[in-house]
């Protein structure tokens, strides 16, 4: 059992959790994730390790409640426990000295790119960050990203905050204005990562993305998370989740991720909506 020791609501649907998991806390590196299962008969889902504290033995996760499992998690409070947490999984992000780097987070993807941006900064890189979301209330970690960045740009699809538009708009400006940007790290919804990849390809800028394939075990034992990278089959959980964006077959992954949409809806409708929304809004136990 893995007790929740702290919980903070970052936006109406996005919550930060600190969970006791000492072995994982000790080994976490930027780019790693965990698989978690909240209850018996629950699903195993992958969530990025945003941070860890090896002294306190805790890990930090930031999760957007979008379906059955993530909503169930949102109903859990400090003192409750998560049944299973396993990790750290995946290949850690290669942290190199590129000089100037752009780190892009879309929606909850900002939580996933933040530890990478921090590690890149610690390695001596200059960070330009772009944080995007559909609307203002889905923008997270703006302050944290800002603190480690030379410049930060915020975009919202609806213009409710920052610049109206998508993350590729400021990215294009940056790439046009600054020839010394040698790498781009982008994590967010697949269409966003695809758009970033298409753009940076024309500039020939090295780009890494983290692929959110559907996972079951997260340890390389099922092949459910297979993705096509440069025409070769790779398992996102053990060969990734980060890959060279210019080699990723995004359309294939977008299609594969739709495999269970109808069933996910059934599962979601079954998880009595009311208590989770109450919990999301105020954290009532």
């Amino acid at each position: 059992m893995y007790p929740i020791v702290a919980k903070e609501i970052l936006s109406p649907t996005i919550t930060k959790y600190e969970i006791k998991a000492p072995f994982i806390a000790k080994k976490r590196k930027a780019g790693n994730f965990v698989m978690l299962r909240i209850v018996e008969d629950g699903e195993r889902i992958p969530i990025t390790l945003v941070d860890s504290d090896s002294n306190a033995g805790t890990i930090t996760l930031i999760v957007q409640a979008i379906g059955k499992t993530t909503k169930l998690l949102a109903t859990k409070n400090v003192g409750d426990s998560i049944l299973d947490v396993v990790g750290p999984l995946g290949v850690p992000t290669p942290i190199e000295l590129h000089g100037q780097v752009v780190c892009i987070g879309g929606g909850v993807g900002t939580a996933e790119v933040y530890p990478i941006a921090r590690a890149l900064k610690d390695a001596g890189n200059t960070i330009f960050s772009i944080v995007g979301a559909r609307s203002k209330d889905l923008i997270i970690l703006e302050k944290e990203m800002g603190q480690i960045s030379k410049e930060i740009y915020v975009t919202t699809d609806d213009g409710s905050y920052g610049r109206k538009g998508i993350v590729t708009d400021p990215l294009k400006d940056l790439l046009d204005a600054n020839k010394d940007i040698h790498a781009v790290y982008a994590i967010g919804p697949l269409p966003m990562m695809k758009a970033v990849a298409n753009l940076t390809k024309t500039y020939g800028t090295k780009t890494l993305v983290s692929l959110n394939a559907i996972m079951v075990d997260g340890t390389g034992m099922c092949g459910g998370c297979r993705v096509s990278i440069g025409g070769k089959m790779k398992f996102a959980c053990v060969d990734g989740p980060e890959f060279d964006a210019h080699l990723v077959d995004f359309d294939e992954l977008i299609m594969r991720n739709r495999t269970y949409v109808d069933l996910e809806k059934i599962a979601d409708e079954r998880c009595k909506l009311t208590p989770s929304i109450v919990a999301l809004a105020g954290g009532v136990k």
């Binding site: 072995f23 994982i24 080994k27 299962r37 008969d41 629950g42 699903e43 195993r44 059955k68 499992t69 049944l83 299973d84 947490v85 396993v86 990790g87 750290p88 999984l89 079951v216 075990d217 340890t219 390389g220 034992m221 099922c222 092949g223 459910g224 297979r226 096509s228 089959m233 053990v238 294939e252 299609m255 594969r256 739709r258 495999t259 269970y260 069933l263 996910e264 059934i266 599962a267 079954r270």
Partner: protein
């Protein structure tokens, strides 16, 4: 040598081999309850009476862990069922499992003297009978551990290899810790073999018995990620490590269309169903989608389990596509027979060439080629050769590939000094020692896909070797660095 059965051999030979009580095929292919209920007491006694009590019990040589088969059958004859169970357990800690899943027809039963002219004694069914008797009557008494050795051994993986190694070492008196990557124990027994062949209560009971030996168990612990092998030695203070991580990484055929929705590796398919209970969706949260028509590719136990599971999940037609002939199929005979009874359609000498998509990126069919058998290859099996122009399309909405597995490389790639073969298996000597001091390995990890009993045999041999190694190792050496 004493005979316990007063009947003359000629009388014994007249007794017919006893059959298990089974759910009828038309019903069982719709549920996940166990197919076979095994032998009842009356039948078990008749079956035990068939044994010739041979002076030279060749059956024992046929058994990979040399269970004293003759004696345990004699004990059944004397109605000392618990004595029989304990006799088996001297050689095999998991009789309820082996009695259900071992390929007896190629091991002990194929050599049984009675089988030369008549049908062999149903050794596997008798093994299962005593194990089940002990469970249903709650008569199991854990062995008393009298010796305590203050040395720690780590066992990685809770499949049959790891569980056996852990149990044997714990019985000797070592402090044993099992590390398991998944949230459930048992390896393939948990995530691969379906409930209709191995009910989960049986598996849980057997796993609990290992815990009762004082074995400490960490689930959700991926060695190589959560802690490395070197950390287990240097920081955790283990003095020997047994690796039983199996061969869990699926291989794909590499034909076009494998990324379509509706294509599964057998491992993913069976894991979703067995470990994650997707067949209870939406009462459980993990989804699975099974078409009206399903094609399973392969001829092993894994393929057989996947295809029989598909019928149980509502497929109207379930095809088993195999590129050689039925004779070459590596699956247990009983499983092939059960699959046939349940209505699986066998497409032998057939090889898939391409998976076909509908307009929504879902599988709509599989293109296959007819094969013929040519000359025998290195394995002695006749090599299948494609017949030109024989392509045809089978309409299916689900394709499951059960075409082989290889070891998961997480430990091999994070540990220095481990010799790995070109198939990805770990190289060991005759006592399961790897190329690194203190690290032993066995089961599918060293053999590629093999069997439960061979994994257990490796675990047992490794436990003896670890005991010898630690007994001889000078104590000064064993200090935690």
């Amino acid at each position: 040598m004493n005979y316990v059965n007063p009947m003359k051999p000629s009388e014994r030979m007249k007794l017919p081999r006893q059959a298990s009580i089974e759910q009828i095929a038309e019903e069982r292919n719709k549920n996940f309850n166990e197919v076979s209920a095994g032998l009842d007491e009356a039948r078990a006694l008749i079956e035990a009476a068939r044994c010739l009590e041979c002076k030279n019990p060749v059956c024992i040589e046929g058994c990979p862990v040399t269970i004293d088969i003759r004696t345990f059958i004699q004990l059944i004859y004397k109605k000392d069922y618990i004595g029989a169970a304990n006799k088996i357990r001297e050689a095999n800690y998991l009789p309820a499992i082996c009695g259900r899943v071992c390929p007896q027809e190629t091991q002990c039963e194929i050599v049984c003297t009675l089988g030369k002219k008549y049908e062999p004694v149903a050794i596997g069914k008798l093994e299962r009978f005593v194990a089940d008797y002990e469970i249903t009557h709650n008569l199991f008494v854990p062995p008393v551990i009298t010796n305590h050795i203050d040395k720690k051994v780590a066992v990685v993986g809770s499949g049959p290899a790891g569980i056996t190694c852990a149990a044997e070492l714990a019985k000797i008196g070592y402090k044993v810790t099992i590390f398991e990557a998944l949230h459930g124990l048992g390896g393939v027994l948990r995530y691969g073999i379906p409930e209709f062949r191995l009910p989960r209560e049986i598996l849980d009971t057997e796993m609990e018995r290992v815990r009762q030996l004082g074995v400490e168990i960490y689930k959700n612990f991926v060695v190589g990620r959560t802690a490395s092998i070197d950390e287990l030695f240097n920081e955790w203070g283990f003095e020997a490590i047994f690796l039983g991580t199996g061969a869990g990484t699926p291989t794909f055929m590499g034909i076009p269309g494998e990324s379509l929705s509706g294509v599964y590796s057998a491992n993913e398919y069976l894991t979703r169903i067995n470990l994650m209970k997707a067949y209870q969706f939406p009462d459980s949260d993990t989804p699975i989608k099974v078409g009206k028509e399903v094609a399973v590719i392969g001829g092993g136990n894994t393929a057989m389990d996947a295809v029989r599971t598909s019928l149980r999940l509502g497929a109207k037609k379930a095809y088993l596509i195999y590129r050689r002939s039925r004779k070459e199929m590596p699956a247990r005979e009983e499983e092939v027979h059960h699959a046939e009874q349940e209505g699986v359609e066998f497409m032998m000498l057939t090889n898939p060439t391409r998976i076909i998509a509908d307009g929504n990126n879902w599988v709509s069919g599989i293109e296959c080629q007819k094969m013929e058998l040519g000359e025998p290859d290195e394995s002695g099996r006749r090599k299948p050769i494609a017949i030109k122009g024989s392509e045809f399309i089978v309409p299916v909405q689900t394709v499951i590939e059960a075409v082989g597995q290889k070891p998961n490389p997480i430990i091999q790639t994070t540990t220095d000094g481990l010799n790995v073969s070109k198939w990805g298996t770990i190289v060991v000597n005759d006592v399961q020692l790897t190329s690194r001091e203190g690290i032993f390995a066995g089961g599918d990890l060293t053999r590629g896909g093999a069997t439960v009993i061979l994994a257990m045999r490796d675990g047992k041999i490794a436990a003896e070797a670890i005991h010898k190694y630690l007994s001889e190792k000078p104590d000064a050496d064993t200090k935690v660095k």
